[in-house]
């Protein structure tokens, strides 16, 4: 029977199947961070259980860590400190792989995994974090789980799962200049809605996806969850293999050859069956921004703020509430919206290529008067590379704040937060109420669009700057 990529990875990991189709899915990599794991480790301790496969379990603190240059002095907030200390302790007690705050390899868990070669094609990868979808860019079945499931995976290296349906999202043709992976993924959510992917695993394919770098593919898969999908996948190809080769935990020698031979079989068969298919033309995708408080509230930058009456059903009230929260009036051109802050970073757009995009636009320019711009690399190694490539100098000369690695203002669990009503162009993935700070207002954009907004002080079509 012809199979999709998802079918193939799934079939290779079913350790047990009950009569009703409930499966035990074997997990190859379990990534752990400090926010969603303490209760799981506590549960293990209370039941006297061990971590089943410590060698396949990798932990890194990221959500709570300060990103200021003086972070070696420790974490001021007591609860944050306790959480990071608990992870330190749990990593030691259960002998799992660990990158502590002062390790140059520390960073956002979804950036560290691929960077260190933990994430490989054909694997099953889970983490107590919804953006685990990121790792799907390698052709790995990767998704977020809750803390009870974290405990389940720690104890058994499996997850109780039922199979999802198959959805194909094809992006045909080429992207226009100024249009990036972030615009693709937001445009898809704009089309499907935040619940459009519920019950599905999405495979992204088509020429525009093939043309993306691994960084871009990770950006696309990262936001599969915002579209409601369990996971996003992209079939591995030469781009994938070139990225993986030589990473610290990637296979070497004969094992590399064996792995590569299997990886090359990991693609959907031509006649595979899809439960849902969506096609977008790459040429028609424009740079986009969000105007509301759901990632589906997305429009091309050339658009205007919509009115509640443009919607139907429960969305009408939600749009009223969103416009009120965002302080926006229907009919306002999106490019007239002024910003107070710009945030570049997160597991969506905190990789080296994202920083290069930002540097390209910022080079020789200044951040507008009255705008604060925060640039947070996704890992210590991304930071190091950006310094070596001279990107950091461009950021500093422009007047941006160049920081240490972590989740930072993506969810503002550390002091990196928006003030009430402060408006931000952000490269992160969620524009929910309060996400970047109490009453903070978030517009999701690509790194290039974020840089453009930083220079002009308002949401801006980056195509006017290239």
């Amino acid at each position: 029977m012809p199979k999709t990529l998802y079918d193939k990875i799934w079939d290779a990991h079913v350790a047990d199947e009950a009569e009703d189709g409930t499966c035990l899915l074997y997990i190859d990599r379990h990534l752990v961070h400090e926010v969603t794991s303490p209760q799981a480790f506590e549960g293990l301790r209370m039941a006297g259980r061990q971590v089943h496969a410590p060698d396949k379990t990798i932990a890194v603190p990221d959500h709570n860590v300060p990103t200021t240059l003086d972070r070696a002095k420790g974490i001021d907030n007591e609860e944050s400190r306790i959480q990071v200390d608990a992870l330190d302790q749990n990593a030691r007690d259960f002998a799992i792989h660990y990158y502590p705050v002062d390790d140059i390899r520390q960073g956002i868990v979804h950036i560290v995994g691929p960077e260190q070669g933990w994430t490989l094609p054909g694997m099953t990868v889970v983490c107590g974090d919804s953006h685990t979808a990121t790792h799907g860019a390698f052709g790995a079945l990767a998704h977020g789980i809750g803390t009870s499931e974290v405990e389940h995976v720690l104890a058994t290296q499996t997850l109780i799962q039922k199979k999802s349906k198959n959805m194909k999202v094809e992006i045909t043709g080429k992207l226009n200049p100024g249009v990036t992976a972030k615009d693709i993924t937001l445009a898809v959510i704009g089309k499907t809605g935040t619940a459009g992917g519920t019950g599905y695993v999405i495979e992204y394919c088509g020429e525009a996806i093939r043309d993306l770098s691994m960084e871009g593919r990770m950006t696309v898969c990262n936001m599969a969850i915002e579209g409601g999908a369990r996971a996003g996948l992209i079939a591995p190809d030469e781009t994938t293999f070139a990225y993986v080769k030589g990473r610290p935990h990637a296979p070497k020698g004969a094992q590399w050859d064996a792995a590569l031979a299997w990886w090359k079989t990991l693609h959907s068969d031509d006649d595979a069956q899809w439960d849902k298919v969506i096609t977008l033309k790459g040429e028609e995708i424009e740079p986009v921004v969000t105007w509301g408080t759901s990632p589906e509230d997305v429009l091309p930058i050339s658009g205007v703020v919509p009115s509640p009456s443009d919607f139907t059903g429960g969305k009408v009230e939600a749009v009223k509430r969103a416009l009120d929260y965002m302080g926006l009036k229907p009919g306002t051109p999106l490019s007239d919206i002024p910003v107070d802050a710009v945030f570049v970073g997160s597991c969506t757009n905190g990789r080296i290529e994202d920083l290069r995009e930002v540097a390209k636009i910022l080079k020789g320019k200044k951040v507008a008067e009255g705008v604060r711009m925060m640039i947070v690399p996704g890992s210590g190694l991304v930071r190091e590379q950006a310094e070596e490539e001279g990107l950091a100098d461009i950021f500093k000369q422009a007047g941006a704040d160049w920081r240490l690695a972590g989740c930072s203002m993506c969810l503002a669990m550390n002091p990196d937060q928006l003030a009430p009503e402060e408006r931000c162009a952000s490269t992160s993935n969620r524009n929910f109420e309060g996400r970047q700070g109490y009453k903070g207002r978030t517009h999701l954009v690509s790194p290039a669009m974020a840089a453009a907004a930083a220079i002009t002080g308002h949401l801006t079509d980056v195509r006017e700057m290239i």
Binding site: A15, L24, Q83, S148, Q157, A258, G314, E317, F432, G434
Partner: protein
């Protein structure tokens, strides 16, 4: 985990669509290393003002809904972050069942692990339950998991679907990990086979 007994209680209407887990429990409360005590902060930013005073017109602050045990919610409830703090907060507040046209995947799973029953129903039925819930104090609904039926305050019966394995676990308060460990031999056998086939993992 506690067993899910037949539930008769007050249902609170929350028709807003896309209620995300950041709304259910804002991130400032994720810093705990415990599971308990999150109920007072359930829907914190919708429920309290900056000074910590209750916002009177928020549904769970209204006298008739303060003891709600059921939520009737708009589409796509629980989207966003994977935080299990969301069902922990709901459970700690006393919510035992949530009914909507759709739920986000991870939140849906997380509910079952915490003794909360999420029920998906077609729009007309959710609308019906929503209007029933709007009656307030007297609108006591019954959720019978065993029989898979919801009974409204005026006696209308609405059947619902639930996964058989999950139903079994909820009804009996079973711990997933214990159940899975009974299959340890299968896991070990799979592991040995996978180590042969994919030694690089």
């Amino acid at each position: 985990m506690d067993k899910f007994e037949k539930l008769t209680g007050i249902a609170a209407p929350m028709p807003l669509v896309n209620i995300d887990t950041d709304m259910i429990i804002p991130k400032v409360f994720l810093k705990t290393i415990k599971r308990s005590g999150l109920g007072v902060n359930l829907f914190d930013e919708m429920r309290y003002d900056r000074e910590g005073n209750e916002i009177a017109d928020f549904v769970l602050n209204k006298p008739q809904y303060r003891n709600a045990e059921i939520l009737i919610a708009g589409d796509n409830f629980g989207c966003g972050s994977s935080r299990e703090h969301a069902p922990w907060a709901l459970a700690d507040f006393g919510i035992k069942a949530v009914i909507s046209t759709s739920f986000a995947d991870i939140f849906f799973n997380n509910c079952f692990k915490n003794g909360i029953l999420p029920i998906v129903l077609p729009r007309e039925q959710v609308d019906l339950l929503m209007s029933d819930a709007e009656k307030g104090q007297n609108a006591r609904m019954t959720v019978d998991l065993e029989a898979q039926v919801i009974t409204t305050s005026d006696g209308a019966e609405i059947p619902f679907e639930v996964d058989a394995f999950r139903k079994h676990c909820l009804l009996n308060g079973l711990d997933d990990i214990g159940l899975t460990l009974e299959k340890k031999a299968a896991i070990d056998a799979f592991e040995a086979k996978a180590a042969q086939a994919r030694p690089w993992v």
